[in-house]
Amino acid sequence: MRKLCDTLRRAIELSGLRDGMTISFHHHLRNGDYVLNMVLQEAARMGLRDLTVNASALFDCHEPLIGHIQSGVVTGLETDYMSSALGSAISRRALARPVLFRSHGTRPADILSGRSRIDVAFIAAPTADPMGNCSGKYGPSACGSLGYAFADAVKAQKVVLITDNLVPYPLTDASITEDYVDYVVRVDAIGDPGGIVSGTTRMPRDPIALRIADLSAQAIDASGLLRDGFSFQTGAGGASLAVADYVKRIMLCRKIHGSYALGGITDCMVDMLESGCFQAIQDVQCFDLRAVRSIRENPGHREISAAQYASPDAKSTAASSLDAVVLGAAQIDTDFNVNVHTDSNGCIIGGSGGHTDVAAEAKLTIIAAPLSRTRMSIVVDKVLTVSTPGSSIDMLVTQYGIAVNPSRPDLKIALEQADLPLSDIHELRRKAVAINGAARPYVRRSDQVVARVLGRDSKVQDVIYAVE
């Protein structure tokens, strides 16, 4: 049996892709991904139309997608996250049909249950053999974990691997194995290594971000969870990244032996694994080269699928055993609802990713965010988009103090006892208004829905409207 195709076009033809079908992509190559653009360009040349793209996340590098939308090649979009260049086009009505936003956990849940059908999955494979055994750990475009592609490999009608590093059969250390793969295509490059492990994950030098991180680490400590067996996840942006560094210092100093670190994995998490803070890393996505090397070389650093990460349908997940997670917010309201989809003008700038899932599952969910960013209050009366419901959030840490969700009086007592600066969400809101001045209330200027945000129950949780 021969799976290896000479050209991408041949693989698309063999996959039986037709007008109106759904094709899927994954973001393990992050902002360096060439595969989505490559496939859509070929599909356009073949005259295919009316395709739905289901991508685990979309970055600025995927901007050519807008052209394919305008020409009618793509008429549907489903994703967990969309960076601002694409978000801005979508918010300005680029697509007639509303985008469907899921979380990293509900995406595989919907695919595996059949609620979301994938006709052809195109999987970027940094290393593959001719029968379709593949891995993200090796090759010039190595990215580490292929976690987001697993559900698609299992359930898509056809699976096409695209690789730039074809090795002889059998590739022994494979993530996705040949029994799931229909076709393999070799191309010159599947991505730009510079963009694959992008610079989103630097430690901030902003003293306010560091202060928020410091308070967040102290809050985790005060919660009592920071003991042997501790499990932890943090986002990769601004303050949340610095929290990991502070937590590390506390764990090392007090010789705490944690259980595992979860999520998108950075250099700092690898440091914690190697210095004995954790016995394992459960990795659904690598953020930098050090993480890629670690997942390749350290047996304690293991790849997990998005379903095992956080699927609400799964019998258990890495998220459901999680002690503490620190996450960011574009807005948080006085009911603790968090918006990570839209900016203060209602324009799409992101998406849940795993935010909604881990917030729902972790024992302690901290939102670490400044009170405002360049005069825009982060703490608002009502978020423009509910990405993660307030019932999942335990506290907000700002540079002006910590607001604990009233549903967690126990936490409030613990923080009081640790002498941490407690505030109240309404007090923080008042403070933001006092500093920035009273803002004109937000006025929605369109009734056209450009995106629907699905909750963890796969039902519509909120909608996003067009902006001018």
């Binding site: 030098r205 003293p207 306010i208 560091l210 202060r211 410091d214 308070l215 680490a217 102290q218 400590d221 502070y246 210092r249 506390i250 090392l252 100093c253 007090r254 540079q399 002006y400 640790a418 002498d419 941490l420 600066p421 006092a434 500093i435």
Partner: protein, 302 residues
């Protein structure tokens, strides 16, 4: 209490806005070196508006004005005094004449502006060889004098020596400034440590300065504030010893003893005075709303 005094450039709205949140006991809003000559007017205007509108919490507000040998300093005072900053820091003070000149101008402006005469205190920056030599005269030149502050960068240029991390070249100046300040009954503050990245070097430098008798230290980076605060706070042992001193004093009083002993050592007036200062400092830190204590310190655990 001024353990840490953080320099912030007065022409940067972003940094000024966050000034009260960086954990420093005092902020030094800089109108001098951090502002280029063609932006002096803008910085002055921004600082004036910011001081009037923003809340700096418990942070003390110090303004470093331009030198008395420049065309800017009187304009600086005119703009800033109505906002009643706690302290004015004149740079490049070379002796008592400078302090008297500033004192007179302050009195004149306070009277004109309806501010209580003598409200504005002075923290003199000594950063020339002449200034260091005249430290004691400057310290006693006005009742407004609250402290002396050593500036080592300009000083070493004036001394024609190289500034080093170990600071042996400024040892004499440090000693002289502390001695002059203490002799005049005012405070002494140490020059900032200028390598932002080198936190270990900072610890050493600040510990050394505390050992010489300085009450606090200036910082040029927010990243230095928590370490400087910690080093210039009384330690647990110091506080415990001070409490023991007062327990011993009370016991001696009760028993009508003239001579007081603690841990086999005689307690005399200077020891009691020192214990009082330690406890005062401790209660000021305890009662304050500053929560600049860093995770790193807390890692010792509950």
């Amino acid at each position: 209490m001024r353990r840490s005094m953080l320099f912030l450039p007065s022409n940067n709205p972003n940094m000024i806005g966050n000034g009260g949140l960086l954990g420093a006991d005092s902020i030094i809003f800089d109108l001098e070196d951090a502002v280029s000559p063609d932006e002096k007017d803008a910085a002055r205007e921004l600082l004036k508006n910011a001081l009037g509108a923003l809340d700096f919490g418990k942070c003390e507000r110090i303004v470093r004005i331009n030198g008395l040998d420049t065309p800017y300093w009187e304009e600086d005072l005119r703009a800033i005094l109505p906002l009643t900053p706690e302290l004015i820091m004149p740079p490049k003070v070379s002796g008592d004449a400078d302090i008297r000149r500033l004192d007179e101008k302050l009195t004149e402006l306070e009277t004109a502006m309806g501010i209580e005469t003598g409200h504005t205190k002075i923290l003199a920056l000594l950063e020339t060889a002449l200034g260091v030599e005249n430290a004691f005269a400057a310290a006693g030149a006005s009742p407004r004098m609250m402290g002396l502050f050593l500036g080592a960068e300009d000083l070493t240029a004036d001394l024609r020596c190289k500034r080093s991390k170990e600071g042996s070249e400024i040892l004499y100046a440090r000693g002289r400034v502390v001695c002059a300040a203490r002799a005049a009954g005012i405070e002494a503050y140490d020059t900032p440590f200028t390598d932002v990245q080198d936190l270990e070097g900072l610890e050493k430098d600040a510990t050394f300065a505390k050992g010489l008798g300085f009450s606090g230290k200036a910082c040029i980076s927010p990243a230095h504030v928590s370490a400087v605060n910690r080093i210039f706070s009384p330690s647990e042992e110091e506080i415990a010893y001070a409490r023991d001193v007062f327990t011993a004093v009370d016991r001696a009083k009760r028993l009508g003893k003239g001579v007081i002993a603690l841990r086999g050592k005689m307690i005399d007036a200077p020891i009691v005075q020192r214990a009082r200062l330690v406890l005062e400092a401790a209660s000021e830190i305890e009662g304050g709303e500053l929560f600049c204590v860093n995770s790193v310190i807390r890692c010792a655990g509950p």
